[in-house]
């Protein structure tokens, strides 16, 4: 091999090695930092991780929001109209958090209660997280419930 080719080969090897290492690290980081989505039924069935954080999504049960006056602590229940999971949270709820509307929370299970460290509700009122819409489609709500009447139509969001 000519020196020039040797150099080029080394360069290519270096690049391949670099990309490989980067890909490996990225995948490693992926495993421990990607959160999976579970709906209340799956949580009730014990399918959700025992120790890891995950995303819980569903509708906030009407009338379930309980505040402790003067503090940030709140309790509410998330349902997919089949099972219901109690949630606690001690930070500021997003502006669009409403009873009877879709919500996604990040956190982990502790003694049968989902301890949330982040609650998401996006900036449009009609917004329904796609996972929640899908999960609700799998477990259709009773027809009287207005909030879940047409989950798919509500997918999407702001203009």
């Amino acid at each position: 091999m000519t020196p020039a080719r040797q150099k080029r080969l080394l360069l290519v090897l270096g690049i391949v090695l670099g990309v490989g290492v980067a890909a490996f690290l990225a995948m490693q980081a992926f495993r421990s930092n990607v959160m999976f989505f579970f709906d209340p039924t799956e949580v009730a069935a014990g399918k959700a991780p025992k120790d890891d954080r995950f995303r819980l999504g569903g509708m906030v049960v009407k009338g379930s929001l309980m505040k402790t006056p003067g503090t940030l602590d709140v309790k509410f229940q998330v349902t997919d109209f089949k099972s219901t999971v109690p949630v606690t949270y001690d930070k500021i709820l997003p502006d669009l958090f409403r009873e009877g509307q879709g919500v996604v929370a990040h956190g982990r299970m502790h003694d049968g209660v989902f301890v949330a460290d982040e609650v998401l509700a996006k900036h449009d009122e009609k917004y329904m997280p796609p996972e929640v819409a899908k999960s609700l489609k799998d477990h259709p709500p009773p027809p009287t419930t207005q909030a879940g009447a047409s989950p798919t139509a509500q997918t999407g969001g702001a203009q």
């Binding site: 990225a26 505040k67 900036h123 999407g156």
Partner: protein, 651 residues
């Protein structure tokens, strides 16, 4: 009448852009001068027509024409005039029209400034831009007509109002700037395609392409920074970057664009990396299109999650396939013919710029994976996942920090045969200064932080020190500094500032969610936030509450913040207006949550050191880019002198 005039103008613009494409590309292929001569008038006509269309839409907004569906959905009689104009690009249809108008403006600029280029090349460039315009007009007319009327009997008395989060000066100018960047890469793309069609790519080509690309990159930098700034103060919860899919969609073209402007430098100076440069030009624009697809098709879960409409998504996807597929086919066919003269040392400037490119492209790939993994996962029918900021903040610095070290070292290397030994003193001195200053700053001002942040701060200082060696040396020896060198230096200073700022914010932000009532205080380090009072406030199209919070430093009041909670009447939306005081070394931030009862409110208080420098850094980089792009050698050059210069440089 006026809205119909707008639509009619769009239809004519579609036809003209088609003609522009055919005359430009086929005309150049047949070397038919009459065909090619028709391209510039077509470009000018198209610009006039698109301006008419966007003017018609602006008119509809300003005159409260609620018979137009788009206006009724995004305006309201209580909306101030400024936002009525900005509302034009407040939603999907209007943003596309804005995109098309900006593309027409870029094309017009190309038409005006390309007279000294060979006729066939210039008309091919405009022809390719014509194809892009054609695609966008077709998209608009088929799926996203902004001029659709509401049926006569259902014309609303008033509009549904512009989304309140968009009622903000920064967001009014953020989309135009961002699009100017996105669309600017279409020009680089067109230059690349034209070069492949010509089968000729030389250093002169790179010289023509560089200023366009650099300008596009400048706009994109400022556009992204403005969006980030807006998210920081308007979304109400602090934080300047959320690794949100829509943010990532604009960040990927920026990363590849940054690689492209560096690769173009090598192609211009040394005639190397030709096919790589072409590939990057194609990629940068493809990612811009992909960004549009991701944002506009609603496939992504995002704080921006815009209207979801599958037919729109499919159209953009199809357009994407045609454009990228076509360009890549051309690339596969033609790029091999473009030989680069081999030969540069592994520690020359050429090589360092190659490493720069590799790292930037890997960074773009990482962002790409993180952004699209949830989609792919979903398409494969697996359990829904989300890739949060945490993943990005682990992987991204791992790629960026070595790149910074490479910048700090590579900046000293000479072209072709650079040897590290030649600049050993500068490298060692720069590294030593950075270590010393960095550790002094970290442990003197802030105390121990995250390891990566400390490394980041040191690397940032190193980049700044390194980029100053050469210009300072030249000034001392009374040598002239070209605008290109000054621009490059400023841009690298901006990079250093940005890295220091990001590292500091990431490590030393203090953030608390607490319940506060009148008279109560929260202390954070040397600062304390005292909740004084809260009362009602009224705006033009909202009502709300406004708190007064005094911030004290070492017990002495430094500022009074007024965070608000607003309820917009029409869209029935609650908005959090944060109270922010930007000081030279830190931001004092407070946002109001909700009434907790018992006279207390939930309050989010933050101290974000140096966060303003993140956006300032983008502005500095853009300034550097703008200076470099207006260097003398890009102006006032005829073809003949270009050829002479190239010949002289080749020897």
């Amino acid at each position: 009448m006026i809205p119909e005039l707008g639509r009619f103008a769009l239809v004519l613009a579609l036809i003209l852009s088609g003609l522009q494409a055919v005359f430009g590309i086929v005309g150049a292929g047949r070397s038919d001068e009459r065909w090619m001569a028709a391209v510039r008038p077509a470009v000018a006509g198209q610009f006039v027509l698109v301006s008419t269309a966007i003017g018609a839409l602006i008119y509809a907004f300003v005159t409260f024409d609620f018979s137009v569906f788009y206006v009724a959905s995004n305006s309201n009689s209580a909306l101030p005039t400024f936002y009525r104009v900005a509302a034009v690009w407040g939603a999907h249809e209007g943003s596309l029209l804005l995109w098309a108008w900006i593309l027409a403006a870029w094309t017009l600029a190309v038409a005006a400034l390309s007279r000294q280029l060979p006729a066939s090349f210039a008309s091919r460039v405009m022809g390719v831009l014509g194809i892009v315009s054609f695609g966008f007009f077709l998209f608009m007319l088929c799926t996203s007509d902004p001029f659709v009327r509401v049926p006569m009997d259902r014309i609303p008395a008033d509009g549904r109002d512009l989304n309140p989060v968009l009622q903000d000066p920064a967001l009014a100018i953020h989309p135009p700037l961002l699009y100017t960047g996105y669309v600017g890469f279409a020009v680089a793309f067109a230059f690349a395609c034209a070069a492949m069609l010509e089968g000729k790519l030389d250093q002169v080509w790179a010289r023509w392409t560089r200023p366009w690309t650099t300008f596009a990159w400048c706009f994109l930098s400022v556009g992204i920074a403005l969006g980030s700034w807006w998210a920081y103060y308007e979304l109400g919860w602090g934080g300047y970057w959320f690794w949100d899919p829509v943010e990532n969609a604009s960040f990927m073209p920026w990363l590849v664009g940054t690689a492209l402007i560096h690769s173009l430098a090598v192609t211009e100076k040394r005639g190397l990396f030709k096919s790589w440069t072409l590939l990057l030009a194609i990629l940068a624009f493809s990612l811009s299109l992909l960004g549009t697809f991701l944002v506009r098709s609603g496939v992504l879960v995002s704080v921006h999650s815009f209207a979801a409409d599958p037919s729109r998504g499919m159209f953009i996807l199809g357009f994407l396939v045609v454009m990228i597929g076509g360009a890549l086919t051309l690339y596969a066919w033609r790029a091999r013919e473009l030989k680069s003269p081999a030969g540069f040392e592994g520690t020359s400037r050429d090589a360092f710029l190659l490493y720069n490119n590799i790292f930037l492209v890997i960074a773009a790939i990482v962002v790409f994976i993180g952004t699209l993994a949830p989609l792919v996962n979903d398409a494969l029918g697996m359990r829904a996942i989300s890739v949060g900021p945490k993943w990005f903040t682990i992987t991204f610095p791992v790629i960026m920090l070595p790149l910074l070290a490479l910048v700090a070292i590579g900046i000293h290397a000479a072209w072709k045969r650079g040897r590290l030994a030649d600049s050993r003193n500068r490298i060692v001195a720069g590294c030593a200064i950075a270590l010393l200053a960095g550790l002094l700053v970290v442990y003197g001002a802030y105390g121990p932080g995250k390891f990566l942040s400390v490394v980041g701060i040191v690397c940032g200082i190193w980049v700044i020190v390194s980029s100053l060696f050469d210009p300072v040396d030249r000034i001392r020896r009374k040598l002239s500094l070209s605008r290109a060198v000054i621009g490059m230096t400023i841009a690298h200073l901006g990079l250093g500032v940005g890295v220091i700022a990001i590292s500091t914010v990431e490590s030393y932000t203090v953030e608390r969610d607490v319940a506060l009532g009148p008279g109560e205080s929260l202390s954070m380090g040397r600062y304390s936030y005292r909740f004084d009072s809260i009362g009602p406030v009224d705006g033009p199209n909202y009502e709300g509450v406004r708190a007064q919070i005094t911030v004290l430093r070492d017990g002495r009041p430094v500022t009074v913040l007024h965070p608000e909670k607003r309820n917009y009447w029409v869209q029935r939306q609650t908005m959090t207006e944060a109270g922010i005081d930007s000081r030279w070394n830190t931001d004092l931030f407070v946002a109001l949550g909700e009434d907790l009862g018992a006279g207390r409110w939930s309050v989010r208080a933050q101290l974000r050191p140096l966060v303003d420098y993140v956006w300032l850094a983008a502005a500095i980089m853009a300034l550097g880019g703008a200076l470099a792009a207006t260097d003398r050698r890009y102006r006032t050059r005829s073809v003949a002198s270009e050829a002479a210069v190239t010949a002289a440089e080749a020897t």
